[in-house]
């Protein structure tokens, strides 16, 4: 049985069949919709909404291109797992207890809300198809929008809202966008992207209250808001596992081992809901990105079928914001040396992070997809790169490694 019919749950079902599993597969999902892909919700789906009437408008199909009947998967939608009794191998649902032999947890994450905004009309989160549908009228009627959080989703939503002709203000408590994940050399040009798109970006200004029709900032200023979109992070959707026999970490994630096994026998965990120890990076990682929900299920399925594969991926994600493709691969720390590859004020550039031993730890790429593709392979084999060559955007990254 697989609980959670998002990317990770669906990929688990597909991987199990591909690897030859012939027994029953039940895929449980609490959303009423056929399983769908989330990244387009903040991109194509909204941009499509932003397109003037008559310009296409056919709607973007986000459903996974999977025939569950043909795959022999019993898809139970609109059914929520309420509790797990791992000792008895039973999942409790609204439709009664369901026994299992093997269980894969794939319940993903839910977006963090602003305190005190629960149920306030006009306040939106963006995680589900229903959330995206609720935002369409906001774009269609060109309401004045305040986005809380200058993260990935905030930037993507702001992109679509501007395209639709909304007046957009993005407020961020930290002093710059993405302050938790990227250094200033990278976030300074990003600030420029907001400005260029006509978005009013206010950093260092926490929200003190949300009122009907307005957002009040800590500095006392009031921003009129027809709609408020909150993008301040997500937490593993694991509340239903409390007391189940499956260990949860302080961050709420299911604690998996490097085989993606949980602490309960026969129970695996994949995707946004689980953390795992990375030998590559020497730390436990909780990754909320799509590629992790694609790769993890292959390992979990192989191990569920008796294999012994270690999960130690090179993390990867992409974002589409302000007309640019931004991609990041690897994992860096402040101790790594940053090498600029091209001018961050130009249209296309990259940044490399090198460890003390010269090994490529991570890259961030803006509209230079070839750098990303080469870097992913270099990082996977812990290749060293020559810093001078890596700094030269005319030299392919792969060549900078060969000569290091």
């Amino acid at each position: 049985m697989i609980v959670g019919a998002g990317m990770a749950g669906v990929q688990t079902a597909m991987a199990l069949r591909e690897l030859g599993w012939r027994e029953d597969i039940t895929l449980l999902g609490d959303e009423p919709h056929p399983p769908y892909d989330r990244p387009p919700l903040s991109k194509a789906v909204l941009l499509d909404a932003a397109a003037p009437a008559g310009a296409g408008g056919a709607g973007v199909d986000v459903r996974f291109d999977v025939d569950f009947d043909a795959l022999g998967v019993d898809l139970r939608l609109g059914l929520r797992a309420q509790a797990l009794h791992a000792a008895d191998r039973i999942v409790v649902t609204e439709a009664g207890p369901l026994p299992y032999d093997h269980l894969v947890l794939a319940t993903g994450a839910y977006p963090v809300a602003l305190p005190g905004t629960a149920g306030l009309p006009g306040v939106h989160l963006l995680r589900t198809l229903d959330d995206a549908a609720a935002l369409r009228p906001v774009l269609d009627s060109r309401q004045q929008v305040v986005v809380v959080g200058a993260g990935w989703i905030g930037a993507e939503f702001a992109t679509a809202a501007r395209q639709a002709g909304c007046e957009v203000t993005v407020v961020e408590a930290a002093d710059r966008p993405l302050s938790g994940v990227l250094p200033e050399v990278v976030t300074t040009p990003m600030r420029g992207w907001y400005a260029e798109a006509g978005v009013d970006l206010r950093t260092g200004t926490p929200v003190s209250a949300v009122e009907p029709g307005a957002v009040v900032l800590a500095d006392g200023s009031r921003l009129a808001a027809g709609a408020v979109v909150v993008g301040v992070g997500a937490r593993p959707a694991t509340g239903w596992l409390a007391g189940s026999g499956v260990e949860l970490g302080e961050d709420g994630a299911v604690v998996a081992d490097d085989r993606l096994r949980t602490t309960a026998p026969g129970v695996f965990a994949v995707g946004d809901c689980a953390s795992f120890p990375s030998a590559r990076y020497g730390e436990r990682m909780l990754i909320h990105h799509w590629d992790n929900a694609l790769q993890g299920p292959r390992t979990a399925a192989a191990n569920l079928l008796g294999g012994d594969e270690r999960y130690d991926p090179v993390p990867y994600f992409w974002s589409e914001q302000f007309g640019r493709f931004v991609q990041y691969a690897g994992h860096h720390t402040d101790a790594d040396t940053l090498v600029l590859r091209g001018d961050p004020d130009s249209a296309a550039w990259s940044v490399c992070w090198l460890r003390a031993d010269g090994v490529l730890a991570a890259v961030l790429v803006v509209d230079r997809p070839r750098d990303l593709a080469q870097a992913r392979k270099l990082i996977a084999r812990s290749a060293a790169v020559d810093p001078a060559l890596a700094a030269d955007p005319t030299v392919p990254l792969a060549a900078a490694a060969a000569r290091a």
Partner: protein, 109 residues
């Protein structure tokens, strides 16, 4: 129209850098032309998973890799070797005449 007539010159053989795809348009169809391992291939430039250009991807073992989510497509058959793409990308016949590379998009090979 015979099949031969539908071939269109897209570039000179000498213009193609080994393993570096070149994007061309043939009768309005975006095509990625790839010279690799002594052969030249033509594959539709749009990934079958999402709408991005395959010519920005890397070429290895007669496969072109999509740079966005990593599916690889066989340059001979267009078939994806792994997820997330599940559907093939059209591939087209190529003819080399002298130093000219010709592609026909009216027939998928």
């Amino acid at each position: 129209m015979t099949a031969t007539d539908s071939y269109v010159r897209v570039c000179a053989l000498g213009d193609l850098v080994e393993d570096t795809p070149q994007r061309v348009e043939v009768d309005g169809v975006p095509v990625s032309v790839v010279r690799t391992a002594g052969d030249v291939f033509a594959i539709n430039d749009i990934c079958s998973h999402a709408n991005v250009s395959l010519s920005e991807g890397e070429v290895e073992d007669c496969q072109i890799e999509c740079w966005l989510h990593g599916s690889s497509f066989d340059l001979r058959t267009g078939k994806p070797s792994g997820l997330p793409a599940t559907r093939p990308v059209p591939v087209y016949p190529v003819k080399i005449v002298g130093d000219d590379v010709l592609v026909s998009v009216t027939q998928e090979s």
